[in-house]
């Protein structure tokens, strides 16, 4: 039991020695990147909108009379 504990402590120490410390200071302002990402995502059309548009187009091609029903409800 004690040997297990000693081995575990050795592993913990070795692990700590194996990784050099990382610099946690941020090197630059990331806000411009965040803003760019927000702008890009706001103009992106979600996949279900494309799917809905595609289905509607197919429906209008197969059943052209649907256009009249659709126009009536607008």
């Amino acid at each position: 039991m004690n040997m297990d504990k000693d081995n575990d402590r050795q592993i913990r120490d070795a692990l700590k020695r194996s990784f050099s410390p990382v610099n946690t200071e941020l090197r630059r302002d990331l806000w411009p990147d965040v803003l760019r990402k927000l702008d890009a995502s706001s103009v992106r059309v979600p996949w279900y909108d494309w799917a809905l548009g595609g289905l509607s187009a197919v429906a209008f091609l197969v059943f052209p009379q649907l256009v009249l029903v659709f126009a009536y409800h607008l």
């Binding site: 070795a14 610099n23 946690t24 200071e25 090197r27 927000l38």
Partner: protein, 173 residues
Amino acid sequence: MDLLQRFALGEIDAFETLARQFQGEIYAWTVRIVRDPGTAEDLTVETLWRIYRARQQFRPDSNFGAWARRIATNLALDHLRHTRPEQVLEVEPAGAPQPDRLVAREMREKIQQAFHRLPPKLQVAATLALVEELPYEQIAEALGISVGAVKVRVFRAVRILRSRLSQLGIKPE
């Protein structure tokens, strides 16, 4: 109306203030997990973007920093899940290697390789607890689990490492 309430309502100016205020903290947390500055920067941008998208789920009376750390941790975990262990080896500083340093470097690399082959959940808990020596309470909050569960993950990580290193014939001193 205070900053957090304005952010929750979607005011971009309030979000900008918060993002500038917390970006350093989010980066510092992320880089401790992924251990690569470029990746940590990308993940920090992604974290801030997700924070803005999830703003309606944020309760203005709760801790923004802790919420941000949780989102950052989940993203870092996803990153580790999709990164091959060979890609995350740390690079030794340049210099003329001496024989004993070569042995030490070889052992270091083997320990790192064994460590990066751990399941990402164990890897994150062990990195934050053993390498970074952060408080268990903070790790538990970021992972969304109890302190006891963090201790279990760290214990399992150490045991798996011990077994893998002994298979490789390595006995840490």
